[in-house]
Symmetry: C2
């Protein structure tokens, strides 16, 4: 089952709105076929694994990280494919949270669930999975910096941008800076969701290429002016509330968004407090930077006092000289 | 050499002002003797290992985590004992920083150095090794709490109290609370160094038993009143400066002190800033608590801005639901 999760992760950032799934077919203790779901619209993991196994699938055991589908969607049901291939036994990592799929008990369920925490959350709540990212100095001051190596391929920040379908940040945090992009090879870049709380009507954005512009959306409370030639979509809301922004994300098929405090907190404070009040935050990713800092911004949010989090035990992980901590509300 | 460090650690908190040392004697690939230095005044690790090995020491290799002494102190030199036992070869983890001992190159030097970082620091600087401990909430607010399990046997806080020769804290932080004590079995308790900055002359201390009272010392700027029946030593300084307090610690034979912000920061802020200015802080131990907190105290110190730390890579470790991070200035 761990191997299923391992190969499922090859599609990290590519399968949304579908889950990541891996399938391993074992016969007489030997792996005879492997497959994973590469992206929405393409065949499921079981299909690739069965193709890989060929005739050897007969009387074999199929391990799947997510319960095989039993309904007709864009693809025929995988349960039928498994039966047709005469697989003797199917071991399931976790049951599908999708209400149109059935349910049994899982093997290595925690691991399989973590693999698709965003997909599961969206299925159960109808909202995207929301993670708040920020950096603190060792004495707890909010920092605008990212640690060395965070942005390069393999760095935790680059991997987050690969993993999340969308990234929310303040328009003030990118003025004159390069646009956050994942450096992982063949990473699908996230949708840039830029919050314009600027008091004047002109929002300065860095130059997005015409390709990239379709992956940018600006939310504002009044008619802001972005460079019209870039063709960037702008959505005007009566009030910049996280709920409304997330609804928009769901309509665009996003399962997960990262709220990135890289560069700005004050601008997004109200948005975050509204999000907290409505229980819209699921996770934090905190980078602990390897230096002491003077008192700058303090990261406090109304109504979050004494709110308990659960740290991920397999983490914290190190990133360059920093330590990265993952916690769940 | 790793085994040497492992057995040396059996004496954690007991050897000061001596270093912890482990010795393993190997003959034809087989361990024939092991020993460690249990406490000051008792024989060195090599002596115990040679006794353990008996005649088998002849032509064997001795591994020692610290260069064997070659001078006459309370014990005869270990180099002579090794020669007398006809040991063929001695492999040394690290050279002794003590100037009256000689010097060669080390094996697994980093590990052997970390084992005795306090001893080494005191030898090289004449000052105790100083570590600052504090707890932060996940949003970086200084907390007065310790995480669940920190104080019980095996908890990181209980282990720190075993490891350090002295613990410095503010008198205001213990009012009505129990006195910090290590719960490790047979732990030598640290000297309690209580800083009384209270504006009035009466300092409230919890009740120390007559046994424990000899392990307490109060530093104040004016003649404070503690319970005279307890017989607690009080030292009056013109100004409460870390340097003067550390000098006193050295006189009492302390190699290491833990400045514990458990309960108070404001009281010790000036003391710490003076310590920073004089380069007296070596290490931080930070507990990251698993909750978000409202804005309370912010941990900032003049002149420490952008001061770089090096996190210990083998750590961070988890403690209950918390994460504990170790960093060196």
């Amino acid at each position: 089952m761990r191997r299923c999760v391992e190969i499922a992760k090859k599609a990290i950032g590519c399968t949304s709105p579908n889950p990541m799934v891996g399938c391993v077919i074992v016969k007489d203790g030997v792996v005879v076929g492997e497959g994973f779901h590469p992206k929405a619209g393409q065949p499921h993991a079981e299909v690739f694994a069965l193709r890989d196994a060929g005739d050897l699938a007969e009387n074999a055991t199929a391990y799947v990280s997510l319960e095989p589908c039993n309904h007709y969607g864009r693809t025929p049901p995988c349960t039928e494919a498994l039966i047709r291939a005469k697989v003797k036994r199917v071991v399931v990592g976790m049951v599908d949270p999708n209400p149109i799929v059935a349910s049994k008990v899982g093997v290595e369920e925690e691991l399989c669930k973590k693999l698709n925490e965003a997909y599961i959350h969206r299925m159960l709540t109808g909202k995207p999975f929301v993670t708040l990212r920020y950096s603190l100095s060792v004495n707890g001051q909010l920092s605008h910096q990212l640690g060395e190596g965070a942005k390069v391929a393999g760095g935790y920040y680059s991997k987050l941008l690969q993993e999340y379908d969308g990234i929310i940040y303040s328009s003030t945090s990118i003025t004159g800076k390069s646009v956050p992009t994942s450096q992982e090879s063949q990473a699908k870049q996230p949708l840039h969701i830029i919050i314009a709380t600027s008091p004047n009507s002109s929002v300065q954005l860095p130059h997005f290429s015409s390709d990239a512009a379709s992956q940018v959306i600006v939310f504002a409370e009044k008619d802001v002016v972005t460079d019209p030639e870039m063709g960037i979509e702008t959505v005007i809301l009566e009030k910049l509330q996280l709920n409304a922004i997330l609804d928009h994300c769901v309509q665009r098929g996003l399962c997960s968004v990262l709220i990135d405090l890289h560069g700005s907190f004050g601008d997004l404070k109200e948005l975050l407090e509204d999000g907290v009040d409505n229980g819209l935050l699921q996770k934090v990713v905190m980078e602990l930077l390897p230096f002491w800092d003077e008192g700058k911004e303090t990261l406090t949010l109304k109504n979050l006092e004494k709110q308990v989090l659960k740290f991920e035990k397999s983490h914290p992980e190190t990133s360059g000289e920093s330590i990265v901590v993952f916690g769940y509300f």
